[in-house]
């Protein structure tokens, strides 16, 4: 700030003055907003989507559930290859040379194969499951992988797990996935995954990761236009208005090179960081700081002042 500008700030205002009742304005604004909120809430309510559970998934899309369970055993799902904070299977998001996700470290360890499938199966009442688990645990890692990938390929080829002809080539995987499906359909898996680390069902990390690995939740999200490439960040479920003020975040997910980038989240975070710096330093940016002279909206707002003072 120059010496001249400081003097302007310190000079006593000698122009016209007017009374202004801040408390009165606050009270009126509070009343108007309260009436609006109460009225609109009474009239329109709010989005009331029921939580999607593992039980819903297992009942409504059993083949997708079986395929995802098999994918967990094969280690081919999103969560199995996610990286930090769940595992070190990949480096995850990076920004140029900055390995942001990897550097954050594994703070919430999740082993999808064990946590989502093998551990819950210990609670199965299906008599075939303990035998299948013994066979699985007694096999080599390579054999386990072969069973799981072969069964996953067979499901993909048949289009539905119920159309896959049983075969010894899949080892215990069909029995294990069927056992987990039964656990989920009974509603027990939701409880098992939320209470595996804590006695209180308050940590939904595991069921949400498992749900996100499947196609069922993905399809529900797509139907409600909630995907990133559907401008989903701006949208709300149903026909309610969403977060339209997030348009600037949502925009980048829908244009190249971000749209097809595996590091889009980190890159867009960085772009928004730069744009915010632009806002902060707007008075110092050439041309940008002249925009009010080119688009004089402030003269429109304070038109009476400019008119009365012939400015």
């Amino acid at each position: 700030m120059s010496h001249k500008e400081r003097n302007v700030d310190l000079a006593k205002w000698s122009g016209p003055k007017r009374p202004y009742d801040l408390v009165k304005e606050f009270v009126i604004a509070l009343l108007v907003v309260s009436v609006l909120v109460a009225g609109l809430a009474t009239l329109f309510g709010s989005p009331d989507q029921k939580a999607v559970t593992l039980q819903d998934w297992a009942k409504k899309a059993p083949s997708d559930f079986i395929a995802t369970t098999t994918g967990e055993l094969a280690g081919t799902t999103i969560s199995a290859a996610y990286g930090a904070p769940y595992n070190d299977a990949s480096e995850g998001l990076s920004l140029g040379p900055l390995k942001l996700q990897k550097w954050a470290g594994v703070t919430i360890p999740v082993d999808p194969k064990y946590d989502f499938v093998i551990e819950p199966l210990a609670y199965s009442k299906d008599s075939a499951v303990p035998i299948a688990l013994d066979q699985w645990n007694g096999a080599s890692a390579n054999q386990q992988l072969t069973w799981a990938t072969d069964y996953a390929s067979a499901i993909e080829k048949a289009g539905d797990s119920s159309k896959v002809t049983s075969s010894n080539a899949f080892g215990p995987v069909p029995a294990m996935s069927a056992g987990l499906l039964a656990l989920a359909q009974d509603g027990n898996l939701d409880g098992l995954l939320t209470t595996s680390d804590t006695p209180y069902p308050s940590d939904f990390t595991k069921p949400i990761l498992f749900l996100a690995d499947g196609g069922y939740l993905d399809e529900l999200g797509a139907a409600q236009h909630l995907h990133g490439d559907q401008w989903g960040m701006m949208n709300e479920t149903g026909s309610y208005p969403g977060q339209s003020w997030l348009w600037l975040f949502s925009l980048w997910y829908n244009v190249e090179p971000f749209k097809s980038s595996e590091n889009a989240d980190a890159q867009i975070f960085f772009v928004l960081f730069l744009l915010n710096l632009g806002f902060i330093f707007m008075p110092k940016l050439p041309f940008i700081n002249r925009l009010p002279r080119l688009i004089p909206i402030h003269r429109l707002i304070w038109r009476r002042y400019y008119r009365e003072n012939n400015l």
């Binding site: 009239l43 989005p47 409600q224 236009h225 701006m234 026909s239 309610y240 969403g242 009476r304």
Partner: protein, 51 residues
Amino acid sequence: MFLLARSLDSPAKFFNWGFISISIPNLIMIGLIIVLFVLAIVIPFPIHKGK
């Protein structure tokens, strides 16, 4: 009112233009925000006469 609430729970319609896809409810809200902004500029500020 019940019918209105039910209709709000059904999926929204979308306006698509090139790569832009925006829900009609969002479009209505943005329109209302612009109208309010214009009204805030156009409607004269109350003048306290005699002061």
